[in-house]
Every structure is written in structure tokens, then in C-alpha cells.
Symmetry: C2
């Protein structure tokens, strides 16, 4: 696996706490949450296990912070994208482009966040669910607005939102930097497909 | 986690080999491939570790057989669905309905198959890739055929195929038997969305 210095964690301070999160992302991605030891994570961050405990009490706490930062960043990216992107079609296309690009560029973090969700403790899980609902809400509002103005034709808004979100998230599973498409190209393709899913009349035809 | 007696493995004989695969699916889904021991798998199948080695030489071999059976079954389901389902629109809808239903009903097996792919040895991985290409091929042929007859309007057939396959596979990640939609309902919704992605003129409108 290539070393990924995910800038999503740039805001995490102090530096040691940030390095530990990056080490944990790598370890969880390679071996899975349950097969990873805090010793392994500390080692990747060039630290002792004792030094790790100054910043994070448990391995689960590391996973929670990875999930929190990952979700917060992807929600922020969605929010920025829909702001001032014009009409509903412009907003949907911008949202999908940005959300896809995030999941392609941060595929290692995104995989950990998505596939290790069940390893979170109850309270932490509840906090992450709130952030997950927010991404869905942003896209649902764009679809609702487009249906209200007649730009979109969607019968099942909740189901279509779920499908669009799912399509974007799954990019993290199959994306490879060595693959034939760049994150931007996938974003462009998927923006067109999402417009079609929304029943946009001129979308992609 | 609920015990899943995945009938996809019904053809695996003898009975002990089948029970070991089912135990491995459960263990891998709960703890991940790397955190699972062959002792744990044998225990779930009500057997000793020594008895396990009669059937499978390594843990990786268990994963390979799970992946092989999972992929063979989902390819078979796709092939059956497109056969005799009428025109391109009918074939695409039938394929998506069947593929979605498989990934919802077999979400535990599908998750193991999709998320533990990197744990396969090189030779086994190569054999699984052939099966993965086959699912894409089946859907790509339906899209190509529909574009040729003018029923569909797709510029990027390869990219659209990838997106439709991805949308169906990701059902395994988020599907829950306790959720608000049944596998059949999701299949129906997604069949309509896939027709839209294919630019089918009357699809879902």
C-alpha cells in the first residue's frame, strides 16, 4: 500500500495526535481494525505505545476520530459544493463531482470509515450517524428543490438520494490511483449519471 | 450478528467443508480476515483445527473458496436474469433487480468477498478477477445492445457499466434486514434508476 498523507487530518493537533491517526488509518486499511494493535499504530507514528495513550485512550477512540474527521470533511466538501452552484441541476452536479472526488482521493480513509463502522462503540456510533444523515440531507434537499421547480422528476426522493450517495461512496472501494480514470473524470461521469437518475430532461443526453 | 445460512454454499460438499465456509464467512465478517484464526473458524463449524486442515490448507484458501462461490453465484444470477428477459430495457431491469437482490440477501458473504479481496494470494486473486470481469461483461453487453438498437443513449458505455455494477454491489454495505426496504423493493427502485442511467426514454418517467 502506498503511504497516504491524507490532508483531511491537517487540522488535528498536536502533531503527534495527527501522526497517530494517519498511522491508524494505514494499519486499519491493511489489516483491519481487530487485527491491529495499538503497538503497531504507535510504531507507524514513530512513537511508543505509552506515548499513544497520552493522546488516545483506546484503539476505538482512534477509529472514532478517523471516522469523525472523515465524515466532517466529506460533509464540508458537499456543503461547499452546493453553495452558489446555481440551479438544482448545477447543485446536484457540483455535489456529486465533489463527493466522488473526495472518495477517490481519500479512498484509504474512506474505506476504513465505511467498513469498520461496526467496531465503533455505541455512543461514538451515534455521533457518526448524525454526520452521515447530514450528507444524505444535503443531497435530498437538492433533489427536493429540483422536483419542486420542475427541473427534476423523481418519485422516490429518499430512495434516489440513498442511491446517489451510495454510488459516490462506493468509488472508495474500487478506485485505484493506477486505474484508467482520474478522480475528476469519475466525478464528471457520475455528475451526468446523477442528473439522469434525477430525471433531469437535458441531463447527459 | 445474525447467523446466516447462505444457501449459495449449498453445492459445497462434503458437509464439513460447507460448514467451515459458513463459519469462515461469519468470522471474517465480524472480525476481518487478519483477526480471524483457523481455530475460531473450526470452532464455529463445531470442529477441531486439525479437522479443518483436512479440507482447507490455509485461511486464505477458505477466503478464496468463499470468493469463488460468491462470485460464481452472483454471475449465475445475472446470466439467468438477462436470458429471455425481452428487449434491452427488460434485460437491464432484470439484471439489476437480480444483482441487487443477491447483494441484499447475501450481504454478509458479499461484504467479505468485496472487502477482503486484498487478502487473496496472487494466483487466487487472478482467478477471481476473471469472474468479476464476467459480471461487468454481462451488463456491458446489455448496454451495448440497447445503444445499438437505439433504446439506450450512453456515451461512455464502460463507465456507465462500472457505475451500475458499483451501485448494485454497494447494496451489500448498507443493506440491513431491519431496514425500511426489502431486497425486492430496492431491486425495483434500482432497475428504474439503471434505465435512467442508460438514457432509456420511457424508463421511470
Amino acid at each position: 500500500m502506498t503511504v497516504e498523507t491524507d490532508e483531511s487530518f491537517g487540522g488535528v493537533t498536536p502533531d503527534a495526535a495527527r501522526r497517530l491517526l494517519l498511522g491508524a488509518v494505514q494499519a486499519f486499511a491493511e489489516r483491519g481494525f481487530h487485527a491491529t494493535t495499538t503497538r503497531d499504530i504507535a510504531g507507524r507514528a514513530g512513537m511508543s505505545p505509552a506515548a499513544l495513550y497520552i493522546h488516545y485512550k483506546t484503539k476505538e477512540e482512534l477509529l472514532f476520530h478517523i471516522s469523525r474527521v472523515g465524515h466532517e470533511r466529506s460533509v464540508a466538501v458537499l456543503e461547499e459544493a452546493v453553495e452558489g452552484a446555481g440551479d438544482s441541476a448545477g447543485r446536484l452536479a457540483a455535489a456529486v463531482r465533489a463527493f466522488v472526488r473526495w472518495h477517490a482521493e481519500h479512498h484509504t480513509t474512506a474505506r476504513v470509515v465505511q467498513y469498520e463502522l461496526a467496531a465503533l462503540g455505541e455512543e461514538h456510533y451515534a455521533r457518526i450517524v448524525v454526520l452521515r444523515r447530514r450528507s444524505e440531507e444535503i443531497l435530498r434537499e437538492v433533489l427536493q428543490e429540483g422536483v419542486a421547480t420542475g427541473q427534476f422528476a423523481v418519485e422516490d426522493i429518499r430512495g434516489t438520494t440513498l442511491a446517489v450517495v451510495s454510488l459516490c461512496i462506493d468509488v472508495a472501494r474500487w478506485f485505484s490511483p493506477e486505474g484508467r480514470r482520474t478522480p475528476d473524470e469519475i466525478g464528471e461521469l457520475y455528475a451526468g449519471l446523477a442528473l439522469r437518475m434525477a430525471g433531469y430532461r437535458d441531463g447527459g443526453r
